[in-house]
Subunit: 439 residues, 2 copies
């Protein structure tokens, strides 16, 4: 974490967290002195009032002046401009709104909505913003109950006549939450975009500012309505992708372009310069007169089980008092139910347990642990056996299937299978275009 002796010398009495003015050859930068983040311990890192972080080489620094201690200065006055659209920012937490604890180096979700919009002053050129704090948490801690609360807020805001909603959210479970909101709040008159970041605002590669800016531009310039995710489309800062909430996965632990569309095309590219490139036209157009529908009942006793070599019937049996189970099968949607030798004799019990749970009324659906591709349980003999045991194939991401089952059981407990097989917002993959693999 520490700067090199060379850099320490040039920094003089300024310490991490201080507000400083750094003079380099010909230029002057004012901002907060940050801990070193680059590979090179020489590079002096400064967080500017714009929210962007820069690295400066000590050789080029002439003077460092301390100018205070504390927060970046709030440089832009907030005033409502009635010629501009209005966007509500619902703040749930996550890296996009996190601070670094300089003692431990770990990040905490703690920035206020005001601090955040101050950090990206260009937003004020695009729209008026209402910022509301719904939660202050990492998305890895989020529960289905939080989706329920968030859905209510989205519903309320959508009925309040705003032009769009941005939900700031951690990336870990964003694919679950976005799908949940898509099911819970249907017939949305406006766009609702989940926005997160993979790098905290203290880092030079912070993606939050561009993701929020692109989301705002997309809300203001396009005629899209419904729930989508707006995040980096590549590892550079060239464009963001608007991906459908129900067909997306977090594919990489740290890359900024982690959210990829699964078996579909993204709705649009939003280029950094503000150009919107629509890639699909099968969305419902924005219509401020439309009345959204809120159905945010949830069923908490729902599980995901991943099939693996060595799985036992007891693991499935554990969920006998659950109301629904998403099974992540292998390949086209397979599970080990064939008895061939002494090592597979226990497979008969897995099949029996499936039958037993089905009979008991546990709703079970099969998705694949392969991220891409449709499920087809008619190709192989064991797929048919599993279907006969009451498990219904579902060509859907595991994230969408799980949230949909929680929602279906919570709102339509008597028609779960019908609802699960009805395509509400593109969650069921019907025809896969060839060029949607690994994009």
């Amino acid at each position: 974490m520490d700067y090199s002796p060379k850099s320490k010398k040039i920094l003089g009495k300024a310490s991490i967290g201080d507000r400083v003015v750094v003079h380099t050859d010909g230029k002057k930068y004012e901002g907060l002195l940050m801990p070193k983040y680059s590979e090179n311990p020489d590079t002096v890192t400064l967080k500017l009032d714009s929210g962007y972080t820069i690295g400066l080489k000590p050789d080029r620094i002439t003077v460092v002046e301390k100018s205070g201690r504390g927060k970046p200065r709030s440089s832009v006055k907030r005033s409502h401009d009635s010629s501009k659209p209005t966007i509500t920012i619902l703040h749930t937490g996550g890296t996009i709104a996190s601070k670094i604890d300089y003692k431990t180096g770990a990040a905490y979700p703690a920035i206020s909505p005001e601090e955040l919009s101050d950090a990206v002053p260009e937003l004020r050129e695009i729209a008026n913003y209402n910022a509301k704090v719904v939660f202050q948490m990492y998305s890895g801690d989020m529960e289905p109950d939080h989706w329920k609360i968030l859905a209510e807020k989205v519903y309320d805001e959508a009925r309040n006549g705003v032009d769009g909603i941005i939900i700031l959210h951690g990336t870990d479970t964003m694919a679950y939450s976005a799908a949940a909101i898509a099911f819970m709040v249907q017939k949305l008159p406006i766009p609702v975009l989940f926005v997160g970041s993979q790098r905290s605002s203290d880092r030079g590669s912070a993606d939050g500012p561009m993701n929020i800016t692109c989301a705002s531009k997309f809300i203001v310039k396009s005629d899209f309505s419904g729930v989508a995710i707006c995040m980096h489309g590549t590892s550079s800062d060239d464009y963001c992708l608007i991906n459908p909430a129900v067909n997306v996965k977090k594919m990489h632990t740290s890359r900024r372009d982690t959210f990829r569309p699964i078996d579909v095309k993204p709705y649009a590219k939003v280029w950094q310069d503000g150009k919107i490139e629509m890639l699909r036209n099968d969305y419902i157009a924005k219509d401020m007169k439309k009345e959204p529908v809120l159905r945010n009942g949830i069923e908490r006793k729902v599980a995901i089980i991943k099939i693996r070599p060595g799985i036992t019937h007891k693991e499935l049996e554990f969920y006998k008092d659950y109301r629904g189970i998403i099974i992540e099968g292998t390949g086209l949607g397979n599970a080990p139910v064939t008895v061939l030798d002494k090592y597979t004799s226990h497979h008969a019990k897995l099949l029996d347990t499936m039958k037993k749970l089905s009979k008991k009324g546990v709703k079970m659906f099969m998705v694949s642990q392969c991220p891409y591709g449709k499920v087809n349980m008619n190709v192989y003999a064991y797929g048919r056996m599993v279907q006969d045991a009451g498990i219904v194939p579902l060509s859907m991401t595991s994230e969408a299937a799980y949230t949909k089952l929680i929602w279906a059981l919570g709102n339509f407990p008597k028609q779960v299978e019908k609802i699960m097989l009805e395509n509400f917002c593109g969650e069921i993959i019907e025809n896969i275009k060839a060029d949607t693999f690994l994009i």
Copy 2:
């Protein structure tokens, strides 16, 4: 499944499964009459003795003669050519060796090794083959006990002086089995290639013949040793990829290029014309004098748990008598352990259960449910809490981590953590090159 009336008329008395000679304008094709597979019910499908399947338009067919019923003719005499290398084919089953049941349309693993090598006559130009049946099963049914048996066969063959081993295997759990063999049989003097297919041999798009041919050419022409997977590299028939056994995932339920390298580059491309393009040089060169090491102990009480919004401590508690658990966390390796409100109060119990199981000696390791990227549990506060509860971060695919834990507990029960953190064959991802995402 049925042919159109137009095609039925031209087929006359020939029925599905019959050996027929089809005369078209200027050409004559002999083979088995197959059920219709193309979208067009007119197209007459014929499986030739070469193993390839062709579609013929009825307008161009002049005469169809029945020439018998039954298997394709074994057209090539088998004789040992001492000028050629020798490859052992270990047959475990899977689509690559499956037959279609024409009544139900479902596929069964039933073709004998002899039938299979007859189906791809060009193999005999490359090498001499010994074919041995180890199992006749779909890989979705495979148990860790089968890895143990397969490892023994690989070890025996590798010591027998053959130039390479091809393991025909279903694709569903191939990533698990390939990793298991890589851990169980180390210091291999020769290449051991897992080969499967995504389309059965009855279909025009069958990938099995090209995958086996490319694997054979790679064994004969390259100086590679160790365990890898050889499957289609694209959805066309242009090249196969040789992917490391321990860094691969089945990424698509049905595409032929389903196996993708995760966070690494493939070792090589093998072009259909036989050209080998090496992409890495960090493998151990073939050395027939090397003595392989067999360590095929297994521990059956090992599980994978996938973290999700709504997971409860009871699900982890269920595994208290297991010896090892791979936890698929969200993002960088997170789990819901922070208590923030009444909906997250049960998170304290999850953390307590982690601690309890750790103390009891259950070995727990954290991977990510994101397919790509390293795990890092130092970035966020909850990652640190989970580490403090005894869970060790592991930058490895879930498939490799699970098989490695079964193997580590089965062979080195007193040094599990040390073994899990030692990089045996590239399974631990250290530095990720930028161009390895989604290739």
